[in-house]
Amino acid sequence: MNASVSTATPSPAPDVQLPIEAEIARLIVDVLHLEIEPAAIAPEEPLFREGLGLDSIDALELALAISRQYGVTLRSDDARNAEIFASLRSLSRFIAAHRPA
């Protein structure tokens, strides 16, 4: 995931949530009624299956919440989708890049 990050911007620490990641971690825990503290979601751990163990019901719920909260519409018409949902970090990055100004 860090391949495109230039040396000028230090890549975020793998185990520390950035502010937007903490916000989205809270959204994930609230919407999906998970029994963990938002801070316990490691930014680069998988969200689905292994890792947090989310499933497709969660993906749909999460998409609804993201669209409500951030006005970002998720679609699955390309291979990027697996990438977007891969981790808290990738999901946060996608939302930050696509939310209306």
Binding site: H33, L34, E35, I36, E37, A40, R49, E50, G53, L54, D55, S56, I57, A59, L60, E61, A63, L64, S67, T73, L74, R75, S76, D77
Partner: protein
């Protein structure tokens, strides 16, 4: 001696469209050509676990296996536990995939579909013995270990034809289906893989998961469009209302559809909201219009027998199978009302499991001394409801126990919450009263639930 009846792979006219891919349409002749091409490359084994994710290539994989006389093993979710069980039961089986996705490590050979397509036409339509075993559908069973239901080709064809009659699908004005259910799930398989082979519909094979996908798919399809979905997806669609030409008809299954939700769909979209009743083991057996009919009408050819609290469904070419539901049949025997389900059986995301079976899986995990699953009261009404579980497992955290369960069961059954206790509230007879369990679940200090 009776002559074996043979039924064609598809009885659609050669140039009628069966599948609509984002980049092309596939007619009956093209589908046969793709299936025959793949069939020639398949390994010579008796069983194939079809794990293709793309709807079209799943269908081609199924048809190719059928042409080779191979039985497709179908499991809604390929967890390590299910695949491991499969490898034990069917050591000759191989896995058919359409991408290099990460499968759990299992001792099964793999065959990757090359997604080859080419010229079609000129091939005679193959006919397959109606009694040929076509698939074994794996369910979590009632004992905690998976169980397989065998379905022969005749049963599948008869059911598609019955659905075609029930939903008045006619070749003159063929409808197009957008399905939000995966092809490896029995409901998705029947409505989006098998139906177009023997009823006048075409099926969209592009993405149809997120509301925006579904809206775009519906907009791009010709003719009357049918949205085949679940209460969960329907609720999501009505909440977000993506810009779209609403579907002329909506069919829902896998969980009871609240009448209010059905009414909202009919009003918002000017559509007809239909519901299918079925189960993985028996397939679709009845339908109704949710806003108008309290009773379900059986599909043509399907017969219910036995007592109302332990009904059995029979259908052409299928052996009679028990239903997990409590019914009340009408005098003519063609309709029934749903009273409830047998308490041990739960249905989530269209998958059925027994609470006793799930509890056995839980207590079978190393380090678990005692444990039980239970269903919340609103399980049948709330599409997002989940099961709950309690366990006595001093060496485990919630996270480590969830991780262990994930390898053994379909994730839709994973408990939320899972609460760790010092002891379960068993009564003098060693039984677990539901009320005591619920009290233990809600009474536990929040901190005990954290891993």
């Amino acid at each position: 001696m009776s002559t074996a009846e043979r039924l064609p792979l598809t009885d659609r006219p050669p140039r009628s469209v069966l599948f609509r891919l984002p980049e092309r349409t596939v007619d009956a002749a093209g589908f046969l050509a793709d299936a025959a091409r793949l069939a020639r490359t398949l390994p010579g084994r008796a069983h194939v676990a079809n794990l293709c994710q793309d709807r079209y290539w799943f269908a081609v994989g199924f048809a190719a296996a059928l042409l080779r006389g191979q039985v497709s093993l179908l499991s809604g979710d390929p967890s390590a536990g299910v695949l491991g069980w499969l490898a034990q039961q069917y050591p000759d089986a191989y896995v058919l995939t359409d991408r290099d996705h990460d499968l759990p490590p299992v001792p099964l050979a793999r065959h990757r579909i090359a997604r080859e397509t080419g010229p079609s036409g000129g091939m005679p339509m193959p006919a397959i013995d109606a009694r040929q075993p076509a698939m074994i559908v794996l369910t979590s069973g009632t004992t905690g270990s998976p169980a397989g239901t065998r379905k022969c080709w005749g049963e599948l064809v008869a059911r598609s034809r019955a659905a075609g009659l029930r939903f008045a699908l006619k070749e003159g004005a063929p409808a197009a289906i957008v399905g939000t259910v995966p092809p490896g799930h029995m409901y998705g398989l029947e409505t989006t893989v098998l139906l177009p082979l023997h009823a006048a519909v075409s099926v969209w094979c592009g993405p149809a998961f997120f509301p925006a996908d579904i809206g775009a798919a519906l907009d791009g399809l010709p003719g009357p469009r049918i949205l085949v979905t679940t209460p969960l997806h329907l609720r999501a669609l009505l909440q977000t209302t993506p810009p779209m030409r609403p579907p002329e008809r909506v069919i829902s299954a896998t969980a009871p559809l609240e009448r209010a939700l059905a009414e909202r769909a009919e009003q918002a979209w000017g559509t007809t909201m239909l519901e299918i009743f079925g189960a993985t083991e028996v397939g679709s057996i009845a339908s109704r219009r949710t806003t108008a009919d309290a009773a379900w009408t059986l599909y043509p050819g399907v017969v219910l027998s036995g007592p109302d609290d332990a009904p059995t469904a029979s259908a052409p070419w299928a052996e009679p199978r028990r239903l997990g539901d409590l019914l009340e049949r009408t005098a003519d025997g063609r309709h029934f009302r749903l009273i409830g389900r047998t308490s041990d059986l739960v249905k989530l995301g269209g998958r059925r499991a027994s609470l006793a079976g799930l509890s056995r899986i839980l207590t079978g995990i190393a380090g678990v001394q005692d444990g039980a699953f239970l269903a919340p009261d609103d399980l049948d009404r709330t599409p997002t409801a989940r099961l709950m579980a309690v366990a006595v497992a001093p060496s485990h955290s919630v996270a480590s126990l969830t991780h262990a369960l994930r390898a053994e069961m379909d994730p839709v059954f994973l408990p939320r919450p899972l609460v760790l206790l010092d002891a379960l509230p068993r009564d003098a007879l060693g039984k677990l009263p539901r009320a005591a369990l619920l009290a233990a679940l809600t009474g536990a200090a929040p901190g005990t639930a954290l891993g």
